[in-house]
Amino acid sequence: MTSVAAPPPSSANSTRVSTLPVFDWWTALGVLGVLGAIVRIIFFTPIEAAQGAAQKIYYIHVPAALSAYLALIVCALTSIMYLWLREERADRMAESAGEVALLFTTTVLSTGPFWGKPIWGTWWTWDARLTLTLFLWFVTAAYLVLRGAVDDPTMRARYSAVLAVLAALLIPFIHLSVYLFRTLHPMPIVLKPSAPSLPREMLITFSISSIAFLFFCVMLMRSRYRLALLRQRTELAE
């Protein structure tokens, strides 16, 4: 496990910060969980009758989307917290969540076409949820580019928090307008008001995969947050 080599501590708080490892057993557990879920998806889950093997992408595609939503929600909430409390830690958490969100939205967008091609007959279509995810990706990328383009840490924190809050307001508008435009996506089969319409074994795989992905997502945000603390510590030491 990677431990942080600490520069001479200047305060009690920084000593605590510097000893936190970026990667630890919890991170390893997160990676193992996702690997375990993938093994179950490939070898221990029945092949769907109508869609064939391509349907197995579902067990990665949807959990990745849930993880992306989780990271985006964390990013928006910690941004609101920053604007309210001006607490640096909230900004670092928002930054960490933003990067993790980009990773998972990229996963959703890159697994989607491989499912879309055999089932819809096309790699890409301007369907409502697809378009929304694409724009979430654009906004998240813009968020990270903005963070990289501002040198002053306080200004960077304020700008990015404002963008994250406005982006959270934007999502319903994009969703509504692209939905009115057209949609092709299947309606939710698990996360819906009535009982899930997925066979039991598939539902178990989906649940395992979702829990594994969400846990992995939290662990990634945790590691990235610790890395941000470490960076700040190094900057202060310089």
């Binding site: 654009f138 383009a149 501002v150 700008y159 963008l163 809050v165 406005l166 994009i174 307008s177 009115l180």
Partner: protein, 230 residues
């Protein structure tokens, strides 16, 4: 001279007048944005096969996409002019509310983009041979709603982008995802208006535009002071 500090809207109007006076004296931004807009309309026409896609289907999309890009050029200048001689510091120390600066800039930008639209809409009708006729008033209303939302978002992002290392690139990168509901809704509404479709088909898109304008005008006014130095 001891004077009373102006109220929120009075101060906003003073800021707007200052920006409009600069623009009226230089005319540089308006002329370049109008020429850019006209060029966009013309180039788009040649990018499509006019025998395959009718001008009536093409024109609203072209109008709104070109207008969005042209608007970005004008919006970038809004806070760009304040960089010279640190003019923005003068605004910050003025005895006015921070929200007034945003509202003033937004009013000046709104007048600017409306002026661009006054030229752009007849130009698109001319180049694409559109039957404006009865639709002109409704189209003007859609244009007003779209311009309002564009200015609300663009003014805030212009204030942010101007202080970053790559302002010219960052402003479109930040703004365009936010312009999507505006472009989509106004293009869909104008297509239906020009085709003489019933008003019930236009209404959902107008509702989106109105809701967008209200939400983002309020959110950006509240958010703006957070983007300024304490």
């Amino acid at each position: 001279m001891q004077g009373k500090a102006p109220g929120l809207w009075a101060a906003a109007w003073i800021v707007a007048q200052k920006d409009l006076a600069i623009e009226l004296r230089t005319k540089s931004a308006f002329l370049s944005v109008v020429v850019f807009m006209l060029l966009g309309l013309v180039i788009f026409f040649f990018a499509w096969d006019s025998t395959a896609v009718s001008a009536l289907d093409l024109a609203p999309g072209v109008l709104w996409v070109t207008f969005t890009f042209a608007g970005l050029l004008g919006l970038h200048r809004s806070f760009g002019v304040e960089l010279q001689d640190r003019a923005f510091d003068g605004l910050l120390v003025a005895p006015i509310e921070r929200e007034s600066i945003y509202l003033g800039k937004a009013i000046a930008n709104a007048i600017f983009v409306f002026a661009v639209l006054v030229i752009a809409i007849p130009a698109v009708a001319l180049f694409y041979n559109l039957p404006l006729g009865r639709a002109i008033l409704a189209l003007g209303f859609v244009a007003g709603l779209a311009a309002f939302g564009l200015v609300a978002i663009g003014t805030l992002f212009s204030a942010m982008a101007v202080n970053t290392r790559m302002a010219e690139l960052l402003l479109p990168m930040l703004s365009l995802p936010f312009f999507v509901p505006i472009v989509l809704a106004s293009a869909q509404a104008s297509t239906r208006l020009l085709a003489g479709r019933p008003f019930t088909e236009v209404l959902p898109w107008l509702k989106i535009l109105i809701a967008f304008d209200i939400v983002f005008a309020l959110a950006c006014t509240v958010a703006f002071p957070h983007t300024l130095e304490e």
